[in-house]
Amino acid sequence: MNASQILEREFLEVRAKILEIAASLDRMDRAEGDLTLDPNRQLLDRGIDLLKSNETDRAEQVQLLFSREYNDGWQDDFDLQKRT
């Protein structure tokens, strides 16, 4: 399928997903309380920013955004003997 065919096929589906996100954000903002400093709300905002990128690995970047960091010294931190 070419880009136009994919757009035609997925337009309504993506539109619906954007609408769901918009409604969720509205729901949070209408409710009592301030989420400006909430780390999860900040993560969502950064995720939305990633969608505006022109790269073709947005899904991978969103996954990494919502992932805990990997520390390559974790086996030393756990005091685990490395196997051979």
Partner: protein, 279 residues
């Protein structure tokens, strides 16, 4: 199209699901040992569970013309209890000669803890000692990337391990490349919320190519869909992929991976004699 679901937890499904899966073309499945929805209190609970996996489920599946295979271990969630885990691991060798056992699995990490890592390493050693294939669970959501990297670190330390006999499951966009590039098989789990959708799995297949990639439904206690593999078949057809390419992912790949196990004896069923309805 016939397909194999390489990771589905049928102990949590009804007999109706077996019938539906048979009607949709499922001819074989493998069921890794996992968490039962609650923490079991003793090793004896696992012995009974292993009997369910090696005796009850194969018979239930056979009623619908599906061959049932299994993998044995104590899952990552209960592996936090190292003492219990070691008792359970001592039970496993007595089940390895059961005719539907393909290997050790689904071992892995859940919260990426020290205890889970210790039990994971001991399972890998058990598999190497008994020349078993390995099926690996990777954690969910925010823990997946870190946990997958930790698992790959641990596997890399075992020089006696044949990577072509190991499948790392539940890969997604941010973990698939490292698993495949390291020489392992990779599984994508089609799951409504926490894992991969059929559309995203099709994207990954298009970007990575179909080699050493499998897809499964998990079909467990959670809000999963046991017919998710046919959903992927539909998605790939809609995108114009060839039947050969689709068959490679949903049948040939799991067949090839399982064929490395001494207990994988599989006959493609004859459509004319296959049982689809309640016997």
């Amino acid at each position: 199209m016939y397909y194999i679901d390489p990771h589905i937890h049928m102990v949590s499904r009804t007999t109706d699901d077996y019938q539906t899966l048979a009607r949709m073309g499922c001819v074989a499945m493998s069921e890794p040992a996992f968490w039962a929805g609650f923490d079991r209190g003793s090793a004896d609970g696992f012995r009974d569970y292993f009997r369910q996996l090696t005796e009850v489920e194969p018979a239930r599946a056979a009623q619908y013309g599906i061959q049932h295979f299994t993998w044995l271990c104590i899952n990552a969630k209960e592996a936090e209890n190292v003492e219990l885990s070691r008792e359970v691991m001592k039970l496993i060798p007595e089940f390895l000669d059961c005719p539907n056992v393909l290997g050790i699995g689904e071992i892995g990490l859940n919260k990426n803890t020290r205890n889970e890592s210790i039990v994971f390493q001991e399972h890998v050693e058990l598999a190497i000692e008994h020349e078993q294939q390995i099926l690996i669970h990777t954690p969910h959501l925010a823990d997946k990337y870190q946990g997958t990297r930790m698992i790959l670190d641990m596997l890399a330390g075992h020089t006696g391990l044949d990577r072509s006999r190991v499948l790392v499951d539940h890969v997604e966009e941010h973990t698939v490349r490292e698993v495949i590039d390291a020489g392992y098989w990779a599984g994508m789990t089609l799951y409504p919320v926490t894992k991969c959708t059929p559309a995203r799995a099709a994207d990954i297949i298009e970007q990575m190519g179909p080699d050493r990639l499998c897809v499964n439904s998990a079909g467990d206690w959670g809000p999963s869909k046991p017919t998710a593999v046919p959903d992927l078949i539909m998605e790939m057809r809609r995108r114009g992929h060839t039947e050969g390419m689709i068959q490679q992912v949903v049948f040939d790949n799991p067949y090839q991976f399982f064929s490395q196990s001494r207990h994988f004896s599989f006959q493609v069923p004859n459509p004319e004699t296959r049982v689809f309805d309640t016997p």
